[in-house]
Symmetry: C2
Subunit: 384 residues, 2 copies
Amino acid sequence: MLKNMKKKWLFTPGPTPIPPEALLAMAQPIDYHRSEDTVALIKDVLEKLKHVFQTENDVLFLTSSGTGGMEGAVANLLSRGDKVIVIRSGKFGERWGDICTAFGVEIIPIDVTYGNSVDPQAVETLLVEHPDVKAVYATLCETSTGVLHDIEALARLTRVRPTLLIVDAVSGLGADDLQMDNWGVDVVVSCAQKGLMTPPGLSIVALNQRAWEAVERSDLPKYYFDFRKAYETGLQGSVPYTPAVTLLTALQCALNRICEEGIRRTIARHSRLAAATRSAVKALGLSLFAVSPANTVTSIRLPEAVDGKAFINLMLGEYGITYAGGQSQLSGKIVRIAHLGWMNENDVIVAISAFERGLVEIGCDIPLGAGVTAAQEVFRVLKY
Amino acid sequence: MLKNMKKKWLFTPGPTPIPPEALLAMAQPIDYHRSEDTVALIKDVLEKLKHVFQTENDVLFLTSSGTGGMEGAVANLLSRGDKVIVIRSGKFGERWGDICTAFGVEIIPIDVTYGNSVDPQAVETLLVEHPDVKAVYATLCETSTGVLHDIEALARLTRVRPTLLIVDAVSGLGADDLQMDNWGVDVVVSCAQKGLMTPPGLSIVALNQRAWEAVERSDLPKYYFDFRKAYETGLQGSVPYTPAVTLLTALQCALNRICEEGIRRTIARHSRLAAATRSAVKALGLSLFAVSPANTVTSIRLPEAVDGKAFINLMLGEYGITYAGGQSQLSGKIVRIAHLGWMNENDVIVAISAFERGLVEIGCDIPLGAGVTAAQEVFRVLKY
C-alpha cells in the first residue's frame, strides 16, 4: 500500500484509539492546573470515574502510567515484612510480584499456566494455610494472555476475611465487568489508555473503607504515589503535584461518552465485540489462547508454521494494522487483537478481515471470508 | 471583559504556553508505543534533550510530573540511613527534604531565608563538618520565591569530593544557565511543562558517571522510577511501561524549536525577558522579592495595602491573565510573573502592561506606562 494512503488502525490493548473530540480538546491552549476551570475539570472527572468503577467510593488519580498506580497499591497498603498472595498468570501478574519484592514484601505466588485463569479454590487453600496474609494481588484481564480472572469469586473469599483484594484492572476496566462495590473488591487500579479511550499518562485508583484503614497502618516509603495526598487534594479538585492537565481534558471527553452509554452497556458492547472476534477465530479454524477469554483482548494461537513477528510486521507495513504480538515466552506464538475502548462493529470487521487477508498472504490455508461472516452473524444475533 | 472575547494569557511558572505545532501534534491519532515511529521519536527526543541539558551524558525520561523525577533522584541514588545536605529556600527545596525523610534518609538542612539564595560558604562548612554526606540536594530556580541558586559554585565544592550534587532544575532548565558537564553537576532533574514548552506529564533526568556508580550501590526501594530500567530501555527507543506518547510528540516539536534556536541563545532570550520584567517592576516603584532573581520567573513584592489574592483573581477574571501568587507563607504577599518557554518580548509587554492596569484598578499609585517603557528600553539596548 502506498504510504500516503495508508490509514492506521490500532488494535493493541493500549494505547487505544482516542475519540475525535478528545484529540481536539488536547489541541486547545493549556490551562493552569490551579485555575477554576481545572478545579471543575478534576472534580467532574473524578465523579464520572466512580460510574466506570461501579463504586460509591471516591476515586483518585496520579500522573503516571498504570504501573505507577500498581506501585502505589503496594507502597500505600502494606508494611515491611508483610506477606501477600500474588496470582501470576502472565506478565502483569508477575509485575505485582516484582513490585512487592522491590518493596520488601514477602510474596506467596500462585503460578498459573499461561492461558489459564486462577482456580479460586487454590487461592482459598492458601488463605486457609496463611491466615496472616495481608492481601491478594490479582488481575482482571491478564493482557499478556487475554485471560479473564474470576474476580467475583476471589472477592467472596477475601471479603469474609481481613485480607484485602487488590485488582489490576489496568486493561480490563470498562470492557470486562468489575463491580467493585457489589462484589466487595477493596482496591481497583486502572489507567487512561485502555477502556477509557485517553492517551497514556494517568493512573486511576479506587479504595474502599477497609483499604483506607490499611493505608493508615502502612509504613512502606512513598511520596509521589502517596494515595492519601492524592485523595484529599482530589476532593478539592486539586492535586499535590502538577498533573497532566491535557490528558485530563481528553479523559473528560471520553468519560462523557461512557457515562452517556452507561457502564453496563459499555461492558455489553465489549462483550459483543469479543464474542464476534472469538467466533471469527474459530470459523477460520484457529484456536484461542485463553481458556477463559476476556472482553478486552482476544489472543489467538498462530499455526506452528507462521512466524508471528513477521506476520505482525506484514500487517503493519502492508495493511496499516497494528495487532499486538506475544510477550516474553509467547513472542511469535500468539497474536492479540484488542476490541477495547473507542470501538464498534466496524472496527472489529476491519480487524478480522485484514487478519484473514494477511494469513492468506503468508500462505496459511484458511477459508477467506469465513471469519467476517461468523462475526457478522454474531452481530446479527447478539443485540447491543 | 466579555467572556467570549477573553483571550487567555498564561504567565505561570508551569504549565507554560505550548507552541501551535505541538498542540496540533497531540490531536493526531495516537500511535502504539512499540511502533517503529515511536522508537524513532523516543530516540530523537532523548538525543535533543542532551543539548538542552548541556551534557554528553545520556538522558532518561519518566511518565510523571517533575516530582516523580525528584523521588527517583532520591530512591535511585541513596541507601537507607544515608546522610545528605538539603538546601531549603522555599517550597521546592523543602520538597527534597520531605522526599528524603519519606525514604528514611537523614537530612542536614540549610535553611535560607525566603527570597535569598544559599551562601556556598555555608554549604562548604557543612561539607567539611560532615565529610560522610552522600549528596547535596539543591535547586536551580526556587520557583516559589523566584530565586536563582549559584549551582556552579556548589559544583566547585562537590566535584572535588565524593559527594554528589543533585539539582532540581524543574522550572529553571532552558531559562537559567545550567552547564551540567562544564560545571560538574552529577544529577539534573527537570520536566516538560516549563522551559520545554510541553504539557505536564513527563519528567527528565540526566546522570553522570559518578551518579550511575551511586545508583549501583543504592538499596532504597524503587520500581516505577527505576532509573536503570528507564535508561537502558531508552537507549533502544523503548520504555519499561507505556509512556505518555502524546506528550512525547509535543516535546519533540518543542525541542525542534530549542535546538534550532540553540540552548545558549534560548537562555539569552530568557535572560533578556527577565531583565525587562525586573526593570519594569523597579520603574513602577515596586521591589523584587528575590535577592538573586532567576530568568525563569520574577517575583514581585506587593504593596502592603494590596490583597494579593484579590489582585490575582481580578487579573484572571477581567484581563484573562494568569499570574501565579505566593505559596504558603508568601500567599497574598507576592505576585510571580513567569517569562518562561514559548515567550518573547510581546508576551512580556502584555504581562507588564496588564500588571500596570490591574494595579491602578485596585487603587495603587503607580506611574501607568512606566513599566512598559522601561521594558521597551531594555529590549532596545539588550540585543538577542
